[in-house]
């Protein structure tokens, strides 16, 4: 058991983690197996909400709220908006492309293997210092996030925003008719 759950963390947290993790996995499987595109987007809401809940368990409140605001409040809403404007039929949907499933499975397994290996390789058996400490001991995490974002990682942060601006301009150029 100790392989899967850190012993210093409260038992209740481990149980909550397990329940949420199972919900995420079930919802994630439904995202790719449902025949209806709108249902897939709604299952995705469950997946992303579950991830936000895991962030809260990790005492990363700010990240959890960003997850809800950006992924659920904006990105999934845009998905739904786009789907409903184009082809949102009720009931089963025949246009779902099932031919690519084997290739998608291979890529998914490969990605999982890569990420699992890199995490295992980097952390191994090391225990993070954060474990077992309360949020109060960790200090105001929001302030820490903003400090590192605007002091240590200022240049990458600005570069990313320029990249987003380029993407935005590109989208406008593509959408223009004249």
């Amino acid at each position: 058991m100790s392989v899967f759950a850190a012993t210093e963390v409260l038992v209740a947290q481990n149980i909550a983690f397990g329940i949420i993790a199972i919900a995420i996995v079930v919802a994630a499987v439904r995202v790719v197996t449902t025949n209806n595109v709108v249902h897939a987007a709604l299952w995705l809401v469950v997946v992303l909400g579950g991830i936000a809940a895991q962030y809260i368990l990790l005492a990363a409140e700010f990240t959890a709220i960003v997850q809800v605001l950006v992924y659920i409040g904006a990105i999934v809403v845009l998905f739904l908006f786009g789907i409903m404007l184009t082809r949102a039929r009720l009931g089963g949907e025949n246009m779902v492309n099932k031919k690519m499933r084997p290739a998608a499975m291979v890529i998914a397994v490969a990605m999982f293997g890569l990420m699992a290996y890199s995490l295992w390789d980097f952390f191994g058996d090391t225990e993070l210092e954060v474990m077992g400490r309360s949020t109060a001991e960790l200090g105001q995490t929001t302030a820490q996030v903003s400090d590192s974002l605007f002091l240590t990682y200022l240049v990458p942060f600005e570069v990313v925003s320029v990249l987003l601006l380029a993407a935005l301009t590109g989208a406008i150029v593509l959408a223009r008719r004249d």
Partner: protein, 345 residues
Amino acid sequence: MNELVLAIELAFWQQTLIKVLVAAVLVPTTALIFGIVFLFKVMSWMQSRMGPQEAGPRGLLQLLADGAKFLQKEDIIPDKADRFVFKAAPVVVLASTFLIYVILPAGPDLIISDLPTGIFFAMAVSSLSVIGVLMAGWSSSNKYALMGGLRAGGQLIAYELPLILAVVGVVIQAGSLSMQDIVLAQANGSMLGFSGVGLPFLITQILGFGIFMVAIQAELTQPPFDMPVAESEVVGGFHVEYTGFRFLFFFLAEFATAFAFAAIAATLFLGGWYVPGIDPDSMLANVVGPIALFVKIMVVAFLIFWFRFTYPRFREDQLQRFAWKYLIPLALVNITITGALVVAL
């Protein structure tokens, strides 16, 4: 900070139970108050008519009678509707409303949870209602509902940005995202050296307040931003197929969200529960705080509903242009000026 009201120490589950019960009572009650005071009384007064008179003294129980009526109605689900999504949509919208109440402070100890990221949390959970609206519009299998849902989606996305950007000015000035810290920053502030009444951020953030109020109006899909529910264009918009208690859910969510947004505006710009002359740490503030907050909420809500009953409806392109070309640039200017002044002073 909290959990010592009446000097009784409570276990965590007892506190949680009490908080859940308080929220469960508070949300419908506030919706009722807003419905009766503004939808019936103020609206009929502004339109020079009588309004409801029969149910109870001066017609004050009309909304309770309506609520009881909704509960008795048959629960109709359209034949071709997506049943599960159709049933879940009102719950999603109402759940989003309940979550906003978590961070509304009514006194130094009277808050369900003083999250360090309070106002940011409120913005995030209020954006969840869009999902419910889109679910309702799509699953009804009705073209008017779908059109209304799409209009609502486009409008809520467009006006969420100025809403959040308008809050940023206040957050910069208060130096915190926590609702309690924002109240205390206003209580401890001073105007040109005079600290008698604190510093309501309305004075320094008047531009932010204006943008916030307009964005609230759009987020609530109220006139002049009622394209998504315009009865003359799309019948009732996303809730056209809903009857009985499911419609009641949407109705409750609309007015309870109006109350929550008015409370946020009162807290951010008018000092929240703080009353000049009362020590914000004293027990007295817990008694006077909710009353002060309620009065401020009613003032803000009067403005919201005044706009609602006065202006004609925007056209879709006017609505989008107003958000993207005027409100968002103005909000960015406000953030820049606030940031520069906070650094300079």
